[in-house]
Symmetry: C2
């Protein structure tokens, strides 16, 4: 057999990287394209978003989060090398430098995919390396946390950071029977929501038994014999025998930047619609890139598995000789905290203002099913629209079971730049077990359309 014509090197073996590898392989056989994927951790192709549910006990074992094992990739002639970190990209020599237990070596590439993911934010405060302080960025983190929980049976958990991961971890700790305190520097959890909608999440957290310490900045950790005993904030001391960091992440773009590949103002690697970076034959996908926000029309860096998968797929199709694009995002996200569902799409009121829109908003209350139908639950829908034009700019939903997935209809409407008046005619599904005769989305659009006059 002749050597393959080209070699594809993939840096990072999670959603984006392995989607790219798989799609490229679908279109180009091993005789044409050699594929080598480097992963510095011990797992590839797993659902990072599933970690809170693994820790909560909803998911029986870490392996359930793994979509495909290295052996499965090997069958596809995709050579996955675990515990191997790429430490440099040399664009002139067209080679990467890799480091593993076996030492340092170099491997040439024709095509390169950078899928290095995100770098979790670690607080720069005293004591932050104490035992019992856990990140939940990757599957190893999740396994490590499970081990800590089993060995040490902590009783008081402090979650630092009130974003999606923070809240999901707060729920996980509640479900495991721990006392849970949530610390956030802002006055509300879920800063991606408007304050009034975030306030509903605060209420829900309190109702579930979480102690909220809002508007308090982290100052450090106290420890005893190297193990965390308390969290210090601007509001005082909080006893803790487990701390979970949910402070978000930034794009892992240092490797790319060092190689001279374009990195944007968001810190994410810049790409075009086909996910090509500024360097010939070098592609990027996943949490390490910045993408285009279709509403603000500005670059954003959003770490989300669904974007990573789509971007990786596009990269693989393009390397495979096909044509696929990732045109951007509208900022959709969804989460669940015990019985409370929360979703958002588009711009918040603050984001709309920052992007230069003059916006108004309308919040409506309704039910997830016909009011008379058993199981009808509360749903609150907020719509943010542009003044004068009535164009939809964003939407937020907080409610109970059956509420949050309605954000999808709003996300598609947003994708098409619909006005709230146009949206009132949308042919959304209706039957008593699924919606009131006016779906909450339509009620919200109607109220926003009616309020346009007084906001013009």
């Amino acid at each position: 057999m002749n050597a393959p014509k080209e070699r594809l090197v993939v840096i990072g073996g999670d959603a984006a990287g392995m989607s790219a590898a798989s799609q490229a392989r679908k279109r180009r056989p091993a005789s044409d394209l050699e594929i080598v994927a480097f992963e510095r951790g011990q797992h590839v192709s797993y659902s990072a978003c599933g970690i809170p549910y693994l820790v909560a006990g909803d998911v029986a074992e870490p392996d359930a989060l793994v979509a495909r094992h290295p052996a499965e990739f090997l069958k596809l002639d995709i050579d996955v090398r675990l515990s191997t970190e790429v430490v440099a990209i040399d664009l002139d020599r067209r080679a990467v430098t890799v480091r593993s237990a076996a030492g340092e070596s170099s491997l040439g590439f024709d095509q390169l995919v950078i899928a290095t993911g995100g770098v979790p934010t670690r607080p720069e405060v005293p004591g932050s390396l104490s035992v019992g302080i856990h990140g939940v960025q990757n599957l190893e983190d999740g396994i490590r946390l499970l081990g800590y929980l089993d060995r040490h049976r902590p009783e008081r958990a402090v979650v630092v950071g009130g974003g999606y991961i923070g809240l999901e971890m707060a729920e996980a700790m509640l479900r495991r029977g721990l006392d849970v305190t949530l610390v956030d520097a802002s006055e509300q959890p879920m800063r991606t929501l408007d304050p009034d909608m975030g306030g509903l999440i605060a209420d829900a957290l309190r109702a579930e038994g979480v102690t909220l310490r809002l508007g308090e900045r982290l100052e450090g950790f106290a420890s005893k014999a190297g193990r965390v005993t308390a969290v210090h904030t601007t509001g005082g001391e909080i006893p803790a025998d487990l701390v979970i960091l949910g402070l978000g992440s930034r794009p892992s773009s240092d490797l790319a930047r060092a190689a001279g590949i374009g990195v944007g103002t968001t810190g994410g690697i810049q790409t075009d619609r086909r996910m090509r970076t500024s360097a010939e034959g070098v592609w990027a996908a996943g949490d390490c890139v910045e993408t285009f926000h279709l509403v603000s029309q500005r670059p954003v860096a959003i770490a989300l598995g669904t974007h990573a998968n789509k971007q990786g797929r596009a990269v693989g199709i393009n390397i495979g000789g096909g044509y696929a694009t990732f045109p951007g995002v509208v900022g959709t996200a969804v989460s669940k905290l015990c019985g409370t569902e929360v979703a958002r799409t588009g711009l918040s009121t603050a984001e709309a203002a920052a992007a230069g829109f003059s916006a108004y908003s309308v919040t409506t209350e309704s039910t997830t099913r016909a009011g008379y139908y058993p199981g009808a639950r509360k749903i609150k829908t907020k719509i943010i629209a542009e003044r004068i034009t009535g164009r939809l700019l964003g939407a937020q939903i907080v409610g109970e079971e059956g509420a949050a997935k309605r954000i999808d209809a709003l996300a598609v409407a947003l994708w098409h730049g619909m006005t709230v008046e146009e949206m009132t005619s949308l042919d959304l599904s209706y039957a008593p077990p699924f919606a009131p005769v006016w779906d909450p989305v339509l009620i919200a659009a109607r109220k926003a359309a009616e309020a346009l006059g007084s906001n013009s």
Copy 2:
């Protein structure tokens, strides 16, 4: 007080008519517009779609289905006259002739809203007037059926017609403990679905214990002492002590036609986007009209409460001096049969062919949540797309809890004439409790996009 400048007469007091009346009143006070609504039944403004759930026992009493009572309308200076039927419209004299227990009389109008609803299909077969044969068109029908169930404790119900109402009534009868047989002339229930998807509904019905008699035409009813004892079909005799007719309805347009108002080929009253009929100052809304199908670009008559509400609202806003339109429908519908959810939007394969499209379809299986997340349920999604262009033409979903409402994202995509390739990029919400990392809608779009090449 001077007499109002104009009088609005509304024919029909359900969703469409009373929405029109309420919206007109919002914009024009009683001093400017007198509003009189005639309803030949004894209830106004109720949810006809809720009747199966009333009969099943999910809804405690008929009154729970009533959104607003006549007394509430009276407070808004809307004069509702129950048990009063409009029997003629005289466009020259601009007056309606009404009939009630008090006899016949006439009332002039300046504006007229025709909201006469639908005429239920009654089979033209021997014995169809026997006691124990029930329609479920309006609230009186539902109350009558409840009374019959209480008084006669029937044990064997035969439901004739396998559409939405038929299936919902089959479930209602199952839930009340009756033996249920469903008769339909076609080879599958839910003829608005493709046969393969309708077949899944047949399977679900059988699994719930419903006896299916498909491909059998109704020939008549046997009765004893005037009460039904059996249903005769082309397939034989089915013993029955209760028969429920779910044969659909046609637009109630005879009154309009007799007055010389334009009625279309569908049998529905023709209107423009603002819901104006062919006669000056005469509007129509609800099950009695035909509307524009945005995909087939042909008129259709679809009896659905959500359309009736929107159309009625548009009429009322327009009469009130505002501007509102009903641009048409994409044919979205949803229903639930015990644990099985079903939804559709756009054109079925047969409808696409009838409208002149050359279409192909792809069916995909997925789960409602991440596969590893507790409560993940099966969902099957079928996409019908145009050959060559890949434009979405329709979609159908059959699945378990959490499946059906996903049709809304597809309905909005359809509204905008998206191609399946474009849809693969949609920013739909993702988190493990709500979807796999590729939402079933995105998986379906992706597979349809991948299949386009071999269908071009």
